[in-house]
């Protein structure tokens, strides 16, 4: 008999792992990826592969040669960052810009903070915002989606503005919401996947399917996505009731732009979001309010990335202030 193992209890462990969680999110994003490839063709696939490959490679190189530690790329977190980053850019983004964005995500937003679990901000969003600020033109000329059969797989994309872009631009020149809506694809198309915009924003339907998968696998909980979307819905709904000429209806706000992608996949990033259920709900509400403020009154048509990054910064404070319900803290209990 060999020497007995000595270790503290418990002696059994759930067979969940970091790998399973990360790859689980990747799987949840696959339907949306397919829809993107369907509408944007080969460029969508290409930009996704570039992002994933560069994120993984950059993490590997940093760990191997700079930090001299055992590379941990197998845990799937770098690949997931790459995928999410790709989902947040237009499919016709130049490859070299994609690589720069990946570098910022992994090297700056993740490894510089100490690697997996230590980063304050969502790495994919940091990469995206960096790209948006550095290459504003490339980052906001969105290819118009065309189903694979019509456009041809390798065809050059025609670019155009997003619905949110049309709105912000148009309102600025004094047009009413009603006039502008004529210029947009209808809501049903937003829902199923015909929305001009970032790769991953194209189909609300595919994103929701993936979200349900994540909930079922218990990788995320409902707290953040539901409070986030509900806040956006109520806030924009209120404004719409006040003046439908300058404020568009709340359903549009939910389906357009990166809200679903942000609420389901980005704001729920475990590392950068709060730990207690109450904290998560406050965080969701905060993301919602900030998103609407930026969309309605900010300089950018879309506010999801900024909103989430700002709330990421508040996460440590929220964790300090919002504790789970402690057992034995009941008041007025018979003693």
């Amino acid at each position: 008999m060999a020497l007995l193992t000595m270790s503290g209890s418990p002696h059994v462990h759930d067979n969940d792992s970091v790998e399973k969680i990360m790859w689980g999110v990747v799987i949840a994003l696959v339907p949306a990826l397919f829809v993107s490839i369907w509408y944007f063709g080969f460029p969508a696939l290409k930009i996704t592969l570039v992002a994933v490959a560069s994120c993984v490679a950059i993490e590997y190189l940093i760990q191997k040669f700079l930090l001299k530690q055992e590379p941990t790329i197998k845990d799937g977190s770098a690949a997931l960052t790459g995928l999410l980053l790709a989902f947040n850019v237009p499919s016709n983004l130049p490859v070299w810009e994609m690589i720069v964005g990946s570098f910022v995500s992994i090297a700056v937003a993740k490894m510089a903070f100490g690697g997996l679990g230590k980063n304050v901000f969502n790495p994919a969003l940091v990469g995206r915002v960096f790209l948006l600020i550095s290459f504003p033109v490339d980052m906001t000329s969105w290819p118009v989606p065309q189903p694979l059969m019509q456009g041809g797989f390798f065809a050059d994309a025609i670019t155009g503005p997003t619905s949110l872009g049309i709105l912000k631009e148009g309102l600025g020149t004094g047009q009413t919401v009603n006039e502008l809506v004529m210029k947009m694809p209808d809501l049903m198309r937003d829902f199923l996947g015909n929305q001009g915009g970032s790769l991953g924003e194209v189909s609300a339907f595919a994103l929701i399917i993936g979200g349900i998968y994540l909930l079922m696998k218990k990788i995320i909980t409902w707290h953040i996505p539901v409070t986030y979307m509900l806040t956006v819905f109520l806030f924009t709904g209120l404004m719409w009731l006040i003046n439908p000429d300058i404020y568009i209806n709340p359903v549009f706000h939910i389906l357009a732009g990166g809200l679903l992608l942000g609420a389901i996949y980005m704001a729920t990033d475990m590392v950068s979001s709060p730990m207690s259920p109450n904290g998560m709900m406050l965080y969701g509400v905060g993301c919602g309010v900030l998103t609407v403020l930026i969309r309605l009154w900010g300089a950018y048509p879309e506010g999801v990335s900024f909103a989430i990054l700002i709330m990421n910064a508040f996460t440590p404070l929220i964790n300090r202030g919002f504790k789970p319900k402690r057992f034995g803290e009941l008041k007025n209990q018979k003693g």
Partner: protein
């Protein structure tokens, strides 16, 4: 809907592979090693010395202090020596080592199987008898039972709760006892009710033991004031605070004792020991121990004498397997890994778990990904990741204000962490330190 506690909890695989193995009485061991102190509280004092002759059931170590307990000889024979011996937690502690010659009981013990229902002793006599016979909590905590029966001034007991949950995976000693000795358990329960002066007792059993639920429910009809409650299978349903919550909806306030909620909780094994002590005048010198695990050749439930070496039980359950990697005293969630198989069975031993090498390997520890799973499974509403982190950084004050002392060491956090972080190891460290700090504050 089955009753359960509200927040947290996990579902480890139940693996009750010894559930159908009837309790088997083991022969009296050749040599027994009786730890002088086998309870939670002040150490007991040995009454015998090398060369003394002792009989089965004779008092050999005496309770010393208010929270303390008597210990009796489990065999008849000669004291080989009184010396330190390795216990199940791996420490060397005072023990009385006896070479057994035969099995002659002291006078006055009724060693028959005849069931005696009439309770003739008064409340005070019952408590005295429980104390005399060295009964302690057999669920694992080993708190002296007679002390639990003495309700502090100003408090009042309303319910007696009998814990037949056995939520630890693998263990079946309580289960078998409920199936094989249901009437004795309920008489023991009635005795405890009398001692406490309560008219209601609730027996909580996890729903994965339908035979025990059925037996006890059926017999309980002929007892006054005892009800049997099936509970949802969820770990740690058998935690004292979680069980009270499930059955009464009341929460034991942080830092307080269960009596604050009007409840006293005793394990089914304890109820059985109380029956034997009070009705049969029999000291606590044997108990049911499950020997199980994926490496066990014959998963079994044994009635064994206290002081038998663990190795002897393993022998009787089919021998030491080739691929043995780890031996745990207790269940897989809260038990302790044994350093030596010579460590003896004590009053608190509920099981011996034999784990194969494949299951014993330490998991690779990854960075915390802040997934909050540990937070969501903690039945005490704590933040295990944070407690572990502040304990690691020796921030004792923060650990205290984050209520490290509320941790019941159930292991759910550690069980569930996808990064395999040894959260409970750090939290235990924090509890030790903070406990010391609180005690030294009390002295000032």
């Amino acid at each position: 809907m089955l009753k359960t506690f509200k927040s947290g909890g996990v579902h480890p695989p139940e693996n009750k592979i010894s559930a159908d193995a009837a309790i088997q009485s083991l022969p009296v061991p050749k040599r027994v090693y009786i730890m002088v102190t086998q309870h939670l509280g002040a150490p007991s004092v040995a009454l015998v010395k090398k060369g003394d002759d002792v009989k089965t059931g004779q008092l050999i170590a005496k309770s010393a202090g208010f929270i303390s307990a008597n210990v009796h000889s489990p065999v008849t024979g000669k004291v080989f020596k009184v010396d330190d011996f390795i216990d199940q937690s791996g420490y060397r502690k005072p023990a009385i080592i006896i070479d057994a010659e035969e099995d002659t009981w002291v006078d006055g013990v009724d060693n028959s199987d005849e069931i005696i229902r009439d309770i003739t002793l008064t409340k005070e006599q019952i408590i005295q008898r429980i104390s005399d016979m060295g009964v302690v909590g057999l669920g694992g905590a080993t708190f002296p039972t007679h002390v639990k029966m003495m309700i502090p001034d100003g408090k009042k007991a309303e319910f007696l709760i009998i814990n037949g949950v056995e939520c630890e995976p693998y263990l079946t000693s309580d289960h078998r006892l409920m199936v094989e000795k249901p009437e004795e358990i309920l008489i023991g329960t009635t005795i405890l009710m009398k001692a406490l002066g309560v008219s209601k007792a609730m027996v909580g059993i996890e729903n994965n033991k339908p035979d025990a639920i059925e037996k006890l429910s059926h017999i309980a009809k002929s007892f006054k004031g005892i009800t049997v409650h099936p509970l949802k299978v969820k770990y740690p349903q058998g935690g004292e605070k979680q069980l009270i919550k499930a059955l009464t909806g009341r929460e034991v306030p942080s830092g307080k004792l269960p009596i604050e909620t009007g409840c006293v909780v005793d394990n089914v094994g304890t109820a059985f020991a109380v029956y034997e002590a009070v009705q049969k005048n029999k000291p606590l010198i044997e108990r049911v121990v499950t020997v199980t695990g994926m490496a066990a050749a014959k998963p079994s439930n044994f009635m064994v004498r206290i002081g038998a070496p663990v190795s002897e039980l393993i022998e009787k359950a089919g021998g030491i397997p080739e691929n043995l990697g780890k031996v745990v005293g207790g269940g897989p969630m809260m038990g302790k890994a044994l350093m030596s198989l010579e460590a003896p069975i004590v009053k608190g031993s509920s099981g011996i778990l034999l784990m194969p090498v494949e299951e014993s390997r330490r998991v690779v520890i990854k960075p915390c990904i802040r997934c909050a799973r540990c937070v969501s499974v903690c039945p005490m509403g704590l933040e295990p990741y944070l407690l572990a982190q502040v304990a690691k950084n020796e921030m004792w004050e923060r650990a205290e204000s984050e209520r490290v002392m509320d941790c019941i060491e159930c292991g759910s956090c550690h069980y569930t962490c996808p990064s395999g972080r040894p959260l409970l190891d750090y939290i235990r460290l924090g509890k030790n330190k903070v406990g010391q700090i609180i005690r030294s504050r009390g002295k000032k």
